[in-house]
Symmetry: C2
Subunit: 666 residues, 2 copies
């Protein structure tokens, strides 16, 4: 069974493609075109430098509304000894921008003269007087924009390779251009293939995969200055696929063939490339994204430019792999064809919030969220799964763990290639801790107030640890102290003793058991978890909900080993609900809203308070101000109340403010 | 004579517009539309949050090509004690992405099993064996992407106000969306007006002004997410202008009326706004850009939504003022209508390279070039003229000198709102010193090599001063030592004693007198400068060409007072040539290439060497490597040689390397 032909390192794969392109005469700007100079030229890349054809201004121009004159005639003018000039022979009215008469070498602004019709008679029309009177002399070229002040003919206005901005169009027009030489937009065909795929908009059934990689790839191509052409989905039919790929190659500069790039039973891409051209690379040692194919296709004899070779990228099917393949292979290719020089990402150094492992043989493209907490820039790794497209949506950047690196400890510095301006990271609120569904609502409202909420769900205790390490601005927490019945305070003493902390109540919420609609197994309470026919889905260690469960199991005398699925952990209420909804488990412990979201039945068991723990240094910071504002915002409180099982009467109440006393382990 | 109605501070002007918009119900998102989820949605701003409709995956999916099975069946499998599972009842082949059968809870990858047709017979088709043999157990949910791994139904996928990127489309599609709610693109009419204007492409005659502000403004509108509609040029005809503006208001969300916003004889804009609606502001205390008009127009009775008010911005005619008016007033308005939150520029702190003055009453928007020299970030002010659009083309950012500040000393820190990513500034080569036409060619070639050459023409001596102050990476210099006949070395001793410097020859070039075609005044040499009928145009103090002139005038016994125009200074060879070409002067001293560029006659007088002075710390820096590479580059040398009067035989020769000895003033 063929696995990948051969995984080769990324730089080798890139070099092979580069060489093949150069051999095929496709190593530089693909073609140029002479485009009209108008607003549609914005974003185009200049294939030739713009040199000034004419000067700007192209004549000596008045810089003011006033009167053109000979400066020599005004030399004697003094406040007490004015000089009068006759209109016509000695002075002439000019508007701003008007050319200076040949005989003039200066302009006096209209507000600096007395306009006269006779010796002491103010002019009826101040722009058409008989004479003007000045009480100060003018140096030569006063209030004149001399020819070439802005641009002198023949000078460089814009270099080749420059991406046109609106103001550039002004400078090019001012220097006498009516058109610009720009690189032609490379045309890229995007072909999705796979029998299991359905297009966006079609009804989704079990086993169907919604095809969106072609939309993402087409969006990337267009964003990077190309012109994408999306083909319809081709089912897994080798001959049909060959025909479509040939058509794509005949009509386009580049072919992106999505999925089928692996070595599975219906992975035809490599064979298609071999049939229609040359297979250069099958397998690149990057993660995610392994099964990348690079090749060069021939055009049909009947196609335009039949001798032209057309590069093809076999793009892996997993959405994160697909998008990253675009960034790694397609963007540099388009940049080269546009002559703009490859995109140079902005990089920052940031400290990892947790330990990561990485396969030693691969360049590992890890998606991270980046934010500043205090003085430190932190990188929190997102899901590593190639299928988790939300990891790219949420990512602030990519940290590449190079081949040879097998892992990094928490706190290690990594270089992050940013997707956002570094300044945007300064508006990021890092919430690490317990998961609650109202955090999504908070994120939406914060976005409207210029803040980005990034929440990592590590459980209540994990959040307190993150605060202690200085890795979060705030933590959601609902840790019950069984002795006192109080929430969180004792745990604060355990994790944050000596720190100045504000503990603010957020919501009261209901916890209970989530079971499938109709409660088919007749679950009534926690005692049912010990039943032999019951598969439970648990929350991770350190989660407040887990603490709650363990406390009550202990009270009921149920041991963990008696609960089937106790070791199956999820990190959020919604994930627990999803596990129940999909039949993976028979029940789980979670909040009402999660049950309702996935249309499950809910057996209410407890009420609990969920708080926000905020170190005082951040509580007083401008960054978090919108969080506090929202706690008082009627509309926001209304929206939270509308979620099932939530009560906002406590929201914003300060439970504790000030230094934290040490406490015993609860 | 009415000057501006009343210049008010910028924040007041903005507040007046904001209030008027809110009164008219135009303070928020203008309208929304339900757009198809495809690549054309990239760049659109979401008017509603995207919440997941379905989970992704929406079923338990195999993460590998392999066999679905019950993990419990594999519990006993060991390397020495394999377990066999029968296809059909105990195992089922699945491709990556296929749904797991209901009875299965794990997948074993195909490469981890032995596929058998009988007890010891490998399967003919490894995907359709009779049985599979495993030598290791699998935990539950191994190699399975459980339902909701990426997205759980109901969770927040994208917040409202978010600008759509390609990957966002993938996440929205994966979560069950086929369309997105996006803010409708605001339509902005751009109306150029003025009898002196001609459109791009028409033959240019003296007094004509090429109309390009409408192109710049339309480009800005489109870049900022609006949809610009450019109107043809309207001549200065009040009634016609009223009709056109009314039409624009009837059909659009915003009207940008360019020029005529001042108070000159044909400045109709304010009157047009008063006739068709309400004039809110006439004159804003910003520089450049003063005569800004803000108002609200009424629609005609017959128009769509006749009760709608339409804001109008009267945009000043000077190109820099026009573009900045776009940034200051139009961008925030479009952002508000799109619901995206105003653009937050990236700001850096940089030290001014020279003293600047500023009118106390205005917010002064000063264009600056920003670059890093050594450890310091420097801001070099560009031309302040409102007509100098190249100042915006060349600008890396804007430093606002707020009202009340009348000027700043060289070295003062200013905050710069950047137009570029701060990282791009690190690729900027600062060349301050003598002007030479080959620097444009160098700039073009450096651009192809990922460097941006920023050159400030302050003359040879000015360049050495800049190097001494640590404000440049290199300086062009051609300072003749009359005693030795050598170039530059003595001046280095004067300005840079004790510094490690590399002095590298760049070109030999020809200097001479530039005179109009045909040499109408019969100029033969420098002696003619003393003639009464001769108007000279000079270079600025500290320029090498000025040093050369002064030396030779002294030898000829000609005093400065005898030379008419001696005090008229220009900063570049091309500017001198332009002054001669335009008739402002009868002759000037400059290089051959400048004469040829503007088709002047040239009287050759001297040959001189033009060097690059480079502190050793920068000479060894990666930043300048392309400069040294180019000196050896055959194609580049050929291009320089092709310019008239240039000889590259010396290019790259190191004249001096190492510490500079102090020297007496030359």
């Amino acid at each position: 069974m063929a696995v990948y032909l051969h995984d080769i390192p990324l730089d080798q794969a890139q070099a092979r493609l580069r060489e093949a392109l150069e051999e095929a005469g496709l190593g530089g700007v693909l073609a140029e075109e002479y485009i009209p100079l108008d607003e549609r030229a914005v974003g185009r890349v200049l294939s030739r430098a713009v040199w000034a054809r004419i000067s700007s201004p192209h004549y000596h121009a008045s810089a003011m509304d006033g009167f053109a004159l000979r400066s020599a005639d005004t030399r004697e003018a003094m406040p007490t000894a004015p000089v009068s000039l006759l209109l016509g022979s000695q002075a002439q009215y000019v508007d701003t921008g008007d050319p200076l008469p040949d005989w003039a070498d200066a302009v006096v602004p209209i507000e600096q003269v007395e306009a006269l019709d006779s010796a002491d008679q103010p002019a009826a029309d101040p722009r058409k007087p008989q004479a003007i009177r000045l009480r100060a002399g003018l140096p030569p070229w006063a209030h004149v924009r001399p020819m070439g002040e802005d641009i002198v003919a023949t000078q460089l206005v814009l270099p080749a390779g420059h991406t046109v901005r609106p103001v550039d169009l002004g400078a090019a027009a001012a220097s006498g251009h009516t058109h610009l030489w720009a690189a032609r937009k490379p045309r890229a065909a995007v072909l999705p293939s796979g029998t299991e795929l359905i297009p966006v908009g079609q009804d989704v059934r079990r086993g169907d995969i919604i095809e969106f990689n072609s939309i993402v790839l087409a969006g990337q191509v267009n964003t990077w200055g190309g012109e994408a052409v999306r083909f319809p989905i081709t089912p897994d039919d080798f001959e049909l696929l060959c025909a479509r790929v040939q058509q794509a190659a005949d009509e386009n500069d580049l072919v992106l063939l999505n999925a089928g790039s692996s070595a599975g039973s219906e992975d035809f891409s490599a064979r298609v490339v071999e049939r229609l051209g040359e297979l250069l690379v099958h397998g690149v040692a990057v993660r995610p994204g392994h099964p990348v194919i690079l090749g060069m296709l021939r055009r049909s004899a009947g196609a335009a430019q039949p001798e032209r070779r057309v590069p093809v990228v076999g793009v892996p099917g997993y959405p994160v792999s697909a998008a990253l393949t675009g960034e790694i292979f397609v963007e540099p290719l388009l940049s080269r064809w546009l002559g703009r020089g490859a995109f140079q990402p902005i990089e920052v150094e940031a400290a990892l919030t947790r330990k990561v492992t990485s396969p030693a043989g691969d360049d590992d493209f890890m998606r991270v969220v980046v934010g500043r907490v205090g003085t430190r820039l932190l990188a929190a790794p997102l899901s590593r799964g190639a299928g988790v497209i939300t990891s790219l949506v949420r990512a602030d950047g990519i940290a590449v763990l190079p081949r040879g690196v097998q892992g990094l400890e928490a706190g290690s510095n990594v270089r992050v290639r940013l997707y956002r301006a570094p300044e945007e990271l300064e508006r990021t609120v890092f919430a690490i801790g317990s998961h609650d569904l109202t955090l999504d609502l908070l994120a939406q409202h914060l976005a409207e107030r210029g803040r980005r909420l990034v929440s990592a769900n590590v459980g209540s205790q994990g959040g307190l640890v993150a605060l202690r390490r200085g890795e979060a601005h705030l933590a959601g927490s609902h840790l019950l102290d069984p002795d006192s019945g109080e929430y969180n305070l004792r745990y604060l003493g355990q994790y944050l003793a000596g720190r100045e902390v504000r503990l603010v109540a957020w919501v009261n919420r209901e916890q209970g058991l989530l079971v499938p609609k109709g409660n088919p197994k007749g679950v009534q309470g926690l005692a049912d978890l010990a039943r032999e026919d019951m598969r439970f889905i648990n929350r991770q260690r350190g989660a407040g909900t887990r603490v709650l469960l363990d406390y009550h199991l202990q009270r009921l005398g149920i041991r963990a080993e008696q609960v089937q699925g106790y070791e199956q952990e999820e990190y959020t209420h919604l994930a627990v609900a999803a596990a129940v909804a999909s039949g993976r488990a028979d029940c789980g412990l979670g909040v009402t809203a999660a049950a309702q979201a996935l249309e499950l039945d809910f057996i209410p068991l407890f009420h609990e308070r969920y708080d926000l723990v905020i170190p005082e240094e951040y509580a007083q910071n401008e960054l978090l101000k919108p969080v506090f504002d929202l706690m008082q915002d009627a509309a926001f409180r209304r929206e939270v109340s509308a979620m099932p099982g939530y009560d906002v009467s406590v929201m914003g109440r300060v439970i504790h403010l000030g230094s934290i006393e040490p406490a015993e382990r609860a």
